[in-house]
Amino acid sequence: MVDLEVRTDLGVGATAPEDDGSVVRAREFTSEVIAVEPAMGDSLLLTATAPESMVRQLRAGRFFNILCRVDGSYDPLLRRPYSVFRADPAASTLTFLVRPYGRGSAWLAERSIGATLDLFGPLGNTYDIAPRARHLLLVAGGVGAAPLVMLADEAVRRGLSVTFAMGAATAPGLLEPSLLPSEVEYVVATEDGGKGHHGYVTDLLPDYARWADQIFACGPEPMYRSLRSAIEPHRVGGKPPVQISVEREMACGVGACLGCVVETRRGMRASCVDGPVFDLDEVIW
């Protein structure tokens, strides 16, 4: 089931959002950075506080738009979307995977412990594990690993069997195995052959396509195209189904600006509210 409360709430007589315990509505809140650790070579894991009830109800795939500028500055103007890498209800924290490659992410990567962040979320829909699925194949490309780590946590808690396939350009760009639950089977590919399979992560998929009840992926768009060609010969009647998380330039995060649309078989869809998770077969590339 996909929760789209931002989109479906008609807001008749709406007031400021309240946490009623059943739905987590998007809100702006101030958060404090409590940990910063290096990860995946040039990236880092940034852990920040969030309301406990929000963290507890969060599911993999949802994201937060983070303001990447100090008070009084208007540059960079727009928030940056970050999927949740890990949610810890006991600590009341969210962890984000930050790779500094643009003005916003570079600013975020410079925050240290104690820094204040302005978060807006949770936004978007979620990955959806089917009730009868037992074997899950997770396919990560680079920083696309973020929401899949949270999904792996969820799946392991539910006692499901998970294979986590990850690809990166070089070995340091791979997710450290210690960051995944120990129950997960972890297979890797590097483009330079530094570790695991020499090639792309999608080369590994045919071996798993029949085993998996569901496939979940997050990575750059070219990865989805090769993922499709890699598994297509092994799929029967659209099975196993594949859920992907798309990345788009984004402004509002609530379906208002229509800057982040994805063309699907059901028309133009806003990746911020109708996504970021879409069925691979729905998306028109």
């Binding site: 709406a14 509505r25 702006e28 540059d75 727009l78 133009m268 509210v273």
Partner: protein
């Protein structure tokens, strides 16, 4: 009593019985009026159809909001990428993705009729007849407080030349819309006009109840790695704080020339920006791009404006509207004559 601030930082009593008068009527000569509790409006294209933000902020507290642009027929919009960030601003080329006027009226007027906040509908078309047709359709709908006419569209009958760049073409659209509806009509002026004051005067003469400005400025960005324009549409509208000085200058010029209310917009990020627009002559302001980054700001702005008025002893907003205009003896340029003001501003 401490400093007059409540536990959540809001000014005590801000939501109830204001000590100062923030209300404004943007269509004072129209029997249907356009009364708003405060002068803060969420701008078209930045607020969807209102419901997108209904779970995020208290939409009902706004002075009004303007819908995303509606067109005669459904539009898929432009290919991706549609947006790009620019220094202290952004570019957009959404391409008016919308369900068309018929799809629109099936869904939103009934919803808005249950809302307290006035809803304004922004309309775009490529012919005078289509503008009039949409105005006539909206005239019969519940839940609509007024129409904002986007004249920054190509006029197909005139080889795609933008309506809003030409005073006579803008006036023609305004006359047609005016004839088709008794609803308050706001004409949203294009900053691409060579003579924005001339366009404003022409649409006022043609029956506009108010004018709003500025629409986005046309700009572009190039991806150096790909050596191609960033936006699939090549060009897009620039908005955000980067355009504020230009917007303010145009509002100042137009407010000096017209008698109808002026609604100012362009890069408003907070109270100080809004006050600048009021002092330039705007009776109300629209907040757009800022909502994308900080949705709560548009509501805080109402409280902050009220607190500022209390502190400054301003009993009613009208007392400061146009306060920086030379006619009020607070400016050194122009000595009160609008044409001289324009000359001085242009030369300065």
């Amino acid at each position: 009593m401490t400093d007059g601030r409540g536990p959540n930082g809001s000014v005590e009593g801000a939501a109830e019985a204001p000590a100062v008068d923030l209300s404004v009527d943007l269509a004072p000569t129209n029997p249907r009026e356009l009364r708003m509790a405060n002068p803060i409006i969420a701008a078209s294209g930045c607020f969807g159809y209102g419901q997108e933000y209904a779970g995020v902020i208290d939409v009902q507290r706004l002075g009004a909001f303007v819908s995303k642009g509606v067109t005669p027929e459904p539009r898929r919009g432009n290919p991706m990428p549609r947006i790009a960030e620019s220094p202290a601003g952004m570019l957009n080329a959404i391409g008016l993705q919308n369900p068309g006027i018929r799809g629109f009226v099936k869904k939103y007027p009934r919803l808005w009729a249950t809302w307290r906040v006035p809803a304004l509908v922004n309309i775009s078309a490529e012919s005078v007849e289509d503008y009039a047709m949409m105005a006539a359709v909206l005239d019969e709908q519940p839940g609509i407080a007024g129409i904002e006419v986007n004249v920054s569209c190509p006029n197909v009958a005139r080889g795609g030349y933008c309506f809003g760049w030409d005073a006579e073409m803008s006036a023609e659209v305004t006359r047609a819309v005016r004839a088709a509806t008794t609803l308050p009509v706001i004409v949203k002026l294009s900053p691409g006009a060579v003579d924005v004051v001339g366009v404003a005067l022409a649409v006022e003469e043609a029956g506009a109840d108010a004018v709003s400005l500025i629409n986005t400025l046309v700009g572009m960005a190039i991806d150096v790695k790909r050596r191609r324009p960033v936006l699939a549409n090549v060009t897009g509208g620039v908005s955000g704080p980067a355009i504020k000085p230009i917007a303010l200058r145009m509002v100042y010029q137009v407010a000096a020339a017209v008698r109808v209310p002026v609604i100012g917009m362009g890069g408003i990020m907070g109270l100080e920006d809004a006050l600048e627009f009021f002092l330039a002559g705007a009776s109300a302001v629209q907040v757009g791009t800022a909502i994308f980054a900080q949705p709560g700001m548009v509501i805080r702005l109402i409280d902050e404006l009220e607190a500022w008025m209390v502190k400054e002893g301003v009993g009613a907003l009208a007392e400061i509207v146009g306060g920086a205009q030379p006619a009020n003896g607070r400016s050194e340029v122009g000595a009160g004559a609008p044409d001289l003001v324009l000359g001085a501003v242009a030369a300065g």
